[in-house]
């Protein structure tokens, strides 16, 4: 392969390094733009007694004030229709939207927000899923049983918005056959994606009533559908123009401020921009679901896992939102990348009074791996087994299944990935040093795929243009270009590929779940292959040759064995315009993809300061099964970035709530890794072309964050002999545990 497999810079990189790229808050129009602000609830759970916005409306400079009355009375939600865009009866989280204003400048908008008077009757609130599920807890949605919900949403009752039990084999028998049984509980708190670009939107409604929305989103077609639903408009009356996106990590998929901007634009007749402050973004965007995890695992003394029971309680937030996506994922991942004959998984998704949790890079993955892989480590130590050996003994192989994975798994390289990490880290030849430790963990992810379509056209000069609506987070768009260049025998520079908007792009998958490249890449590759066929068809007529005798290569099409008997792609492009078949173009679609395992294995060395409990990450080795790396530069970048993001989740990050309000919504108090905290990440790829996926590529972005918290927790234990079972592993917690241990030891 010539272009696929090259670590080429991203196609849009020059705009990025020069500051030319247009992000969400950078859109400018010829017409003036109003500034929009949202009034959010100060209470986590309260009944609204009255809303009075008259004073705000009268403030000079205010052009529109909108409340629930300005929208059709629509309840929406992907799984459960439990959400109304503006609250009018009840608020269910701090920041629940009540009204929005648009004014000539920010100061006026802020003043107007303060003039809106709302009377509340405060109700008891829950920010913890287990508490919300208790018998007799105040209901967050009293009328939950009247909501419409998809039939797959099982077990709705009170504050439980989903409960599902999955069984494989017979765990009772499995535990009987086991020689040791281990039970542990873990907790992973809410953490936030903290993309550096806060949510931002610009909306305009034209004279025909069509709304145009510029927004950095991972899911332009989903945002379009959501806006259309909230305003009861046909899809062609909403145009979403995705801007460059300053990071998403799952947090920019659900509608947040977009409908408010549209409502304000419609009412004021002007363009309206809303940009979230960092604090608002922390408080109301869609963070990672906090999770209580219980693992019960039965093993033989040789380490063979006989049975595993898992109970997970997710606190999903005030509305179901994408909560079920996280649960569906958890169902697949909960028992780990292991061959276990008897498994039972209980999943609970509880309403809680905080932001709707959404997908965050590998939804449920790091929480599950933290619990599951911490416990595997505990078991290995108890049984005097090497943690690598214990995992090797149980790891899945080709043709194995895990719960809800959808059939025998193909392209499984768990053991090789594990061994690669262990070998690269020098697992066997380590020297023991005081307060230093080493930990290993496996990450399990299943890459699916989603309905996607993409087009390729050959231009009259032999260059090609890709028509896609996929959002570029991880370099996907560049990879699509590489795929097309490879198929058509041209260079990446001969291919134009950028994300088109919802009016012009064929339907594209969301950019999430590490499936965007697999889905879009497959559609794009087929379209490119179809274009190649058309090129040969046109050329065959001109060259008076058989199609089967033609070769497309080096920007030319020629007769096999006699390169001089050929045409340039430019000539073919020209010819096609007068040829009976017409312009060369193809749009192809894909929809169904079997789940594909993408395994990561991480080894880290840490040093724990016994006086303070602080952890320093000395070394980090990440191995990952990537199938084929279409663009190794992007792949490496994904893995490195994910590991550092995961280290934040392991060591420092946590959304802390008081009375339902996040009390640390700043970078000062919510500490993500800076350059001074971040170790160098050594990345090792396991490359075997996967059975399907374009050129054998697998998904990259999610697997690489999954094992991080567990690897760190295992290393900390190895260093100082304390086991922390709730994230993050802060210095205080570790120090307390060390002191505790010294007292009792």
């Amino acid at each position: 392969m010539k272009v696929v497999g090259q670590g080429l810079p991203r196609v849009e990189i020059l705009e990025k390094v020069t500051g030319e790229s247009v992000f969400g808050a950078d859109v400018r129009l010829a017409a003036p733009i109003l500034i929009g602000k949202i009034l959010g609830s100060p209470h986590a759970h309260a009944r609204i007694k009255s809303i009075d916005a008259r004073k705000a409306e009268r403030l000079p400079g205010v052009k529109a004030v909108v409340t629930a009355q300005d929208l059709p009375p629509v309840k929406y939600g992907r799984f459960v229709r439990d959400e109304e865009y503006f609250a009018h009866k009840k608020v269910r989280l701090v920041g629940d939207k009540i009204a929005a204003v648009a004014a000539i400048d920010e100061e006026t908008a802020e003043e107007a927000i303060k003039l809106i008077k709302v009377e509340y009757e405060v109700l008891p609130h829950f920010t913890d899923g287990v508490e919300a599920m208790r018998e007799g807890a105040a209901l967050i949605h009293e009328e939950y049983d009247q909501y419409q919900a998809l039939s797959m949403v099982e077990g709705r009752k009170g504050n439980i918005c989903y409960h599902k039990q999955t069984v494989q084999g017979d765990t009772n028998r499995g535990f009987q056959e086991a020689e040791r049984i281990f039970e542990h509980s873990f907790y992973a708190p809410m953490v936030h994606q903290t993309y550096i670009e806060p949510h931002a939107v610009l909306a305009r409604v034209d004279a025909s009533g069509k709304a145009t929305v510029w927004v950095p989103t991972q899911a332009q077609f989903f945002i379009r559908a959501s806006i259309a639903e909230i305003f009861q408009l046909p899809l062609i009356k909403v145009r979403v123009i995705p801007t460059e996106i300053g990071g998403g990590f799952g947090g920019k998929m659900l509608p947040t401020i977009e409908p408010a901007a549209v409502a304000l634009a419609r009412k004021s007749g002007m363009a309206v921009q809303i940009v979230m402050s960092r604090a608002e973004d922390f408080q109301v965007a869609n963070p990672r679901t906090p999770c209580h995890l219980r693992y019960k695992t039965g093993v033989k003394l040789d380490g063979t896992i006989m049975a595993r029971e898992v109970e997970l309680v997710f606190g999903t937030g005030a509305y179901c939102g994408n909560g079920l996506v996280i649960c569906q994922r958890a169902e697949m991942l909960a028992s780990g990348p292991y061959r276990i004959p008897n498994v039972k998984i209980d999943l609970f998704c509880a309403y809680t009074n905080h932001a709707n949790c959404g997908p965050y890079r590998a939804p449920s993955g790091p929480q599950i791996s933290f619990a599951s892989e911490s416990q595997i480590d505990i078991i290995a130590r108890e049984l005097n087994l090497d943690p690598v050996e214990m995992r090797l003994k149980n790891a899945i192989e080709e043709g194995d299944t895990t719960p809800a994975c959808g059939g025998p798994l193909k392209s499984v390289h768990a053991k090789e990935t594990l061994l690669k990490a262990a070998e690269a880290a020098g697992w066997k030849e380590r020297r023991r040093e005081k307060n230093r430790g080493r930990g290993i963990a496996l990450g399990y992810w299943l890459v699916g795929g989603m309905a996607s379509s993409a087009g390729v056209k050959l231009n009259e000069d032999g260059t090609a243009t890709v028509m896609t609506g996929v959002i570029d987070l991880s370099g996907t768009v560049t990879s699509l270009g590489q795929i097309v260049a490879e198929v058509l025998g041209v260079e990446l520079d001969d291919v134009h590929v950028r994300t088109a908007d919802s009016d012009f792009a064929p339907h594209s998958t969301i950019s999430a779940g590490s499936q965007a490249l697999r889905s879009m890449g497959s559609a794009t590759k087929w379209a490119a292959e179809e274009v190649k066929k058309q090129i040969m068809e046109v050329a065959a007529d001109k060259l008076e040759a058989e199609v089967s005798d033609l070769v497309v290569e080096g920007k030319r099409v020629y007769v096999k064995g006699s390169p001089e008997r050929g045409l340039s792609l430019g000539q073919v492009g020209q010819l096609s315009l007068t040829h009976k078949r017409g312009p060369i173009v193809s749009i192809q679609s894909v929809s169904i993809f079997p789940n594909q395992p993408a395994i990561s294995a991480h080894v880290t060395d840490v040093e724990v300061n016994p006086e303070t409990g602080a952890v320093k990450v000395l070394r980090y080795v990440a191995a990952q099964d990537v199938g084929t790396a279409i663009n190794p530069l992007s792949v490496m970048g994904q893995v490195q970035g994910a590991v550092i993001q995961g280290l934040g989740q392991a060591l420092t990050e946590e959304c802390i709530f008081q009375n339902g309000r996040m009390i640390n919504p700043t970078f000062l108090d919510y500490k993500i890794f800076s350059s001074l905290d971040a170790p160098r990440v050594e990345v090792h790829l396991v490359e075997h072309a996967a059975e399907d996926g374009p050129f054998g590529a697998k998904g990259i972005g999610e697997p690489s964050i999954i094992p991080v918290p567990a690897a760190v927790a295992n290393a900390v234990y190895d260093a100082v002999g304390v086991r922390i079972s709730d994230l993050p592993l802060t210095a205080e917690k570790i120090l307390m545990a060390i002191q505790e241990k010294n007292k009792s030891g």
């Binding site: 849009e12 400018r28 550096i196 670009e197 970035g641 970078f667």
Partner: protein
């Protein structure tokens, strides 16, 4: 509404501007809104992320923490001012080649911080680069590729 304004003069990327501004407007907003120089980004507005880094009178500053009126009479350089006539600054080239910009949102600020470093220390060590960008948060890259880019740009210059 009539609000109090103040007339200021600034030089931005070599261009002289004279404008009426509100005394409470941040330099970041002034650059982005009044001059339409949107290359400089806002990530927090509180001096904690470095997305808004610019160079003012030879100093690296967070433009979100500076009032426009404080910039009166000053010389300012932003990301838009560091490449000349299609010629990329070596840092820009290196960031592109090393994969040091993924989403690209931190990139303008990051490049300004790196430029400030190289202006004062033309051949830094990796440690020194890590220190120099400590006030610039990046959520995508994990920083390794950024360090590589800065070191390679230093060699180029």
């Amino acid at each position: 509404m009539a609000r109090r304004t103040k007339r200021i003069r600034v030089t931005v990327n070599g261009e002289r501007y004279e404008k009426e501004v509100s005394p409470s407007k941040s330099l970041l907003d002034f650059l982005r809104m009044d001059l339409n120089l949107t290359g400089t980004k806002e990530g927090c507005g509180e001096g904690e992320c470095g997305a808004c880094s610019i160079i003012m009178n030879g100093k690296l500053v967070d433009s979100c923490l500076i009032l426009t009126v404080e910039a009166d009479g000053q010389k300012i350089q932003t990301i838009e001012g560091i490449s000349r006539h299609d010629r990329l600054h070596p840092l820009q080239k290196a960031f592109a080649e090393k994969g040091a910009a993924q989403c690209g949102y931190c990139t303008p600020g990051m490049i300004m911080a790196a430029k400030y470093l190289l202006d004062h220390n033309p051949s830094p060590t990796a440690e020194q680069v890590l220190k120099a960008i400590a006030g610039n948060l990046c959520r995508c890259t994990g920083y390794g590729s950024i360090v590589d880019a800065v070191l390679s740009a230093a060699k180029e210059r």
